[in-house]
Symmetry: C3
Subunit: 133 residues, 3 copies
């Protein structure tokens, strides 16, 4: 089963928790055991699994990444000017695989699935493939 999800980002860097949307769809598909592949279709936005509790983690996370990969860099050649966003995307990964068991995403207490925007605001989409196995 494959589904396209849409997300509208509001700032240049943003982490959006998509766990509930994915879980709802898995429940509708009645998948009990298996896994999902969650895959961004963009080169300046990725997917990661990280803390869903304290929102300050997202703020710190994006700010620290921005310090490592500053938007402006005098040696960058890429004319679009978003080289930093490409690096951040490969760092977190364009996609993540999450196990499903007992009909639920097998995440720890504090884990959530995040769509990571690094060159917003934009209209974005990601694919989720669910496999019963």
């Amino acid at each position: 089963m494959l589904k396209t999800f849409h997300v509208k980002t509001k700032t240049r860097d943003q982490m959006i928790d998509v766990t509930r949307d994915i879980q709802t769809w898995i429940s509708e598909q009645q998948i009990e055991e298996g896994f999902v592949i969650v895959s961004s279709l963009h080169t300046t936005a990725g997917i990661t699994v990280n803390e869903n509790a304290d929102p300050d983690v997202k703020t710190d996370f994006l700010r620290r990444l921005d310090e490592l990969y500053p938007w402006e860099h005098q040696k960058d050649l890429h004319m679009e000017g978003n080289t930093a966003a490409h690096l951040k995307t490969s760092q977190v990964g364009h996609a993540q695989t999450i196990i499903i068991t007992n009909g639920r995403l097998a995440l720890g207490t504090w884990q959530g699935i995040y769509f990571c925007e690094f060159d917003g605001p934009r209209n974005r989409k990601f694919l989720v493939k669910a496999v019963q196995v």
Copy 2:
């Protein structure tokens, strides 16, 4: 098939080779062709595949990551104070997928699977889902 593995870490940053434990379990399950998903259930500990030969690689690896993501950072908001561990976890990844062929993890000569602790010492666990396909 799904199994929970437990690991007890001893220091704040530590890479623990879990390749043999996973291979032993795969062999017990008699999986010949397929793959495994190895997934940390924590937001401050991840999984990576890297060198299993010279232990100095682990030392260098953890020290260099610590230089990029220093534990103390005056701008961090997260009250728990472990923002660096969250970033390191997303950098290596919360999970890895490894192909199985001929009953063995399809790793190169020098590759091993590591549980990466970034906020220890703690009692940790990770899931391994093995798929015959």
Copy 3:
């Protein structure tokens, strides 16, 4: 289905687009729906999904990674001297999973699959496992 691909790298750091080779093989296997796991068998070369359009992105990408992980580092212990390459490999990932739909890799317009050499030039190989599901 499992296939070993060979790649000959020419410089120390190099991103090689392998999307077409993988797509050709998937088409030969007549896989319509499923996914592939693309996995490097090395600890100093990984796989990432990133921009396939402007070649300057690759140049920027590799140069910026080299700034974060300089080849020479006076604290490195690893005698082989390629600690930086190990870190870069874990950063991009040793492997990536890509969804297949309608017989095609489900990549966005600008996404390509790259073999990432971080300690070349060398003769390298990577595995691709394709699953119809």
